[in-house]
């Protein structure tokens, strides 16, 4: 197992290098630069700024400078907010984005798995059709539509929940979490239903029935472990998606998370900030994919990774 983990971490290094290289090129190929303002900056100032941030050096030199900076844990200064470093800004935004993603994941897992189970227990009945239709709508509806609708219903008409902010008033975390988690809840519901249906048709479920076990025991003890494996494999990419996809929700609900910094950085051509957040998200995606693979291997006795039988 340790060998497998070590191997996967080694595998991540070339992936990260490619990500860094491609982002570096793309960011610089995009029109405009970090110091373009509505009112043009004088050529002298621009020259001084470029010199200050080493932007006048050849691209290759810039790239290797940047790379060696990263290796020392330095993502450079933000071009837009010269007083703050990229590392610092990620550190402020990250806990908020993490918290949001965590709540959203809880929402997604709870709603998704229960809806999927309900549907799988009585397939092709109302108990199946209703949650699955809602799930279909959930998949189709983007969060920038879902968010405002929830705000309209629960914030403005019913006045049950606050419509923006993070941690200022009780309950202001509920709507963002639901908005972000709903799409994933829908995916998880469909995944759970499909794989539970498959597991429930297996011969070993018939064996369990022939042993005289109750439906409840069969579902929770015999079927759930196999049935949730696809969901667990999906969790890695899902968590990564939640983290990097949170910027829409953060923008709608005025949440000062990492996602908003990311979007702002892109608009501002804040080279170092874009690079820093991209690399950071890539690391997260790789990490969570690895984590879910490890959990799947742990749950499935047939996949004893790295061990010969």
């Amino acid at each position: 197992m340790l060998k497998f983990i070590g191997f996967r971490i080694l595998q991540a290094i070339p992936v990260l290098l490619v990500v860094i290289f491609v982002t570096f090129l793309l960011v610089r190929m995009a029109p405009g630069g970090p110091f373009d303002e509505e009112k043009a900056v004088s050529p002298y100032v621009l020259e001084k700024l470029n010199e200050r941030y080493n932007l006048d050096a050849p691209l290759s030199e810039q790239f290797f400078d940047y790379l060696s900076g990263i290796l020392q844990g330095d993502f450079g200064p933000s071009f837009k907010f010269p007083t703050r470093s990229v590392t610092e800004m990620i550190a402020t935004g990250l806990p908020i984005t993490f918290e949001l993603a965590f709540y959203a994941m809880l929402v997604a897992l709870f709603i998704g798995i229960s809806a999927g189970l309900l549907a799988a227990i009585r397939p092709n009945t109302a108990q199946d059709y209703v949650p699955m239709s809602i799930a279909m709508i959930g998949i189709c509806m983007p969060s920038f539509l879902m968010g405002p609708i929830l705000v309209l219903i629960f914030g403005i008409w019913l006045e049950w929940l606050p419509v923006s902010g993070w941690g200022y008033s009780p309950g202001d975390k509920i709507l963002p979490a639901i908005t972000l988690g709903s799409t994933y809840a829908a995916y998880i519901a469909r995944l759970t239903r499909g794989s539970m249906l498959e597991v429930l048709s297996q011969d070993y479920i018939r064996t369990a029935r022939a042993k005289g076990l109750s439906t409840q025991t069969i579902i929770f003890k015999h079927a759930l472990k196999g049935g949730l494996l696809p969901v667990v494999s999906f969790l890695g990419p899902a968590i990564a998606g939640l983290l990097s996809g949170s910027f829409v929700v953060e923008t709608i609900f005025q949440i000062p998370g990492l996602g908003r910094f990311y979007v702002q950085a892109a608009f501002n051509r804040d080279y170092t900030m874009i690079m820093g957040t991209t690399i950071f998200f890539s690391v997260l995606i790789i990490f969570f994919n690895l984590l879910s693979d490890i959990i799947v291997a742990y749950l499935n006795p047939r996949l004893k990774l790295g061990n010969k039988k």
Partner: protein, 544 residues
């Protein structure tokens, strides 16, 4: 009073295509300590009948329409789900056909073994585990304590079926229902499992219902036999009566269809036919990749499936390749077909050295070498009609000009006993036997010289099997074909093959005239294999 008495049991399935009356008013009884075999071909309703006893038929679409099933004074069909759960796995236990899929792969053996006890009895988990350990020992599994913590994939097929039996017996049931428990196993393992069931039955006075399609098995184990056809019991009686004095025409047809004899005289390879050798193998070794090379394991791991195999095949001869699963017979067949590349050795086909051919040359040779696979359900493309399936080889090898396609295909269908009117039909519209005929027609389409048949009748019912074998004799004779017939079924091999090669662990351990091998086996392994075949004659097993 009988332990189990079934009266006018009727079960139907309500499908989109209409009502399927799977079981139609069957009645029978089972006494304590008795073994009753229910025998019939696929679709006869034998499994549905037994699943109905415990209300295990999926409902819907299934529905138990009427009848009574009295077990020890209780009508099981009147029980609610709550009530019948107390019988399942407790008083009536079941074992199923496929031990590979019937155990939960995500739970260790111990957890699964103790369930019947912990659910039906007041017993602590620790005590149940002690009982489970004893149960594993009883079915002949060593190191029981360690085995309890292992998962199903760490057991072989035969071992898993032992675990299933141990699990069924944990709660000391009065009745055991065994649904084709040995069909998926090799004959030597099958013989051990029968031995085991019989032994336990005598010790515990257990009643057994044994569902099977194999009359040889019936003769070996049953006291009484029920013969089912189309949901009805057409005949029932003691095993001796059924075999020696059967009243019903269908029973006699089943008995006649079993290949018990040697190869029919008129189909035997005669020395007068051209004596030249069509295929010659010398010292062939072949292996397959068990674990591919990766960054962590530089060296791929290969399994040596075929070791130093040499034999020859004469023109017009049917050569049997027999052995248990994993003995390398399929890998050997694939090596001849160039689907597996040999590690060393020489394969000569009509004087051409196959091992030195390049890809284009192999394509040419393939025209002469055809294969028929085991599973007629899986080996035909469901989206291609018979016409398309037969057209493909004709086109690929330019067998006939395009305007002849239709006529050639009709002829081929006629040849294999299919109606040319069905030319536009798709595989799912045919029965298993008919599909295997399509597969034979497809092999014949390119006018091959050698056909390799890989377990061609293993998936078929015995009456269908007899018809397909007849067809194979016919085509071999008519087209002067040579054939390698791969099978695990010794009776079929004896009935079909002129000469036989017995394979064990990748090697040919015995090779010679089929009758000689069956009458005077020279090797220990061959003798063991032969003695394990169930003989469809009850007298054979009842002699003192």
């Amino acid at each position: 009073m009988a332990l189990l008495s079934v009266d006018k049991l009727t079960t139907s399935f309500y499908t989109r295509d209409g009502i399927v009356r799977a079981v139609q008013g069957i009645s029978f009884t089972v006494e304590c300590g008795e073994t009753v075999a229910i025998v019939g071909e696929s679709g006869s309703g034998k499994s549905v009948a037994c699943y109905s006893l415990l209300q295990l038929v999926p409902q819907p679409p299934g529905k138990i329409e009427s009848g009574t099933v009295f077990f020890d004074g209780t009508d099981l069909l009147q029980c609610t789900e709550q009530e019948i759960m107390k019988f399942r796995g407790n008083h009536i236990a079941m074992i199923f056909q496929d031990p590979m899929t019937s155990l939960n792969p995500y739970m260790n053996i111990g957890e699964q073994l103790i369930e019947p006890l912990t659910y039906h009895r007041k017993i602590s988990k620790a005590d149940a585990l002690i009982r489970a350990e004893a149960a594993l020992k009883e079915v002949g599994i060593g190191e029981a304590k360690k085995r309890l913590k292992q998962y199903p994939h760490e057991f072989s097929g035969g071992m898993r079926q032992r675990v299933m039996i141990a699990m069924a017996l944990m709660s000391e049931p009065e009745l055991l229902i065994a649904d084709e428990p040995t069909t998926a196993l090799d004959v030597t393992i099958q013989a051990q499992i029968f031995e085991l069931i019989k032994d336990i039955q005598v010790r515990r006075n257990l009643a057994v219902i044994f569902i099977t399609h194999d009359l040889g098995v019936v003769a070996q184990i049953a006291d009484r036999v029920l013969v089912m056809k189309n949901g009805k019991i057409v005949e029932q009686g003691t095993t001796r009566d059924i075999f020696n004095n059967s009243q019903h025409e269908y029973t006699r047809m089943l008995l006649d269809a079993i290949p018990v004899s040697a190869k029919p005289e008129q189909y035997r390879y005669s020395a007068s036919s051209a004596k030249n050798v069509i295929l010659q193998l010398e010292e062939v070794n072949a292996s397959y990749i068990e674990r591919p090379a990766s960054l962590l394991h530089w060296q791929e791991e290969r399994f040596k499936a075929v070791r130093n195999v040499s034999f020859n095949l004469r023109k017009g001869e049917i050569l049997g390749l027999v052995g248990e699963s994993g003995c390398g017979k399929s890998t050997l067949a694939k090596t001849v077909l160039r689907l597996v590349t040999e590690d060393s050795g020489r394969i000569q086909f009509e004087g051409t050295e196959l091992t030195s051919l390049n890809a284009a040359e192999i394509k040419n040779v393939r025209k002469d070498l055809q294969i028929i696979f085991q599973d007629p359900y899986a080996s035909l493309n469901p989206r291609m009609s018979v016409y398309d399936a037969l057209l493909e080889p004709l086109k690929l090898h330019n067998i006939v000009p395009p305007k002849e396609y239709e006529r050639t295909i009709s002829q081929l269908m006629d040849e294999v006993g299919l109606s040319p009117r069905d030319i536009r039909k798709y595989p799912h519209e045919f029965s298993g036997g008919q599909r295997q005929r399509i597969a034979i027609a497809r092999a014949l389409a390119v006018r091959p010289k050698l056909i390799i048949a890989d377990e061609p009748v293993s998936a078929l019912d015995v009456t269908i099997q007899a018809q397909v074998l007849e067809l194979m004799f016919h085509i071999v004779e008519k087209y002067h074909l040579s054939m390698i017939f791969v099978s695990h079924d010794l009776s079929v091999i004896r009935y079909v093959c002129d000469r036989t090669a017995v394979m064990f662990q990748g090697e040919i351990v015995e090779f010679g005239d089929t009758e000689k091998i069956f009458n005077q086996p020279q090797q220990e392994y061959t003798r063991k294999l032969l003695s394990a075949i169930p003989v469809p004659d009850p007298g054979y097993y009842r002699q003192p």
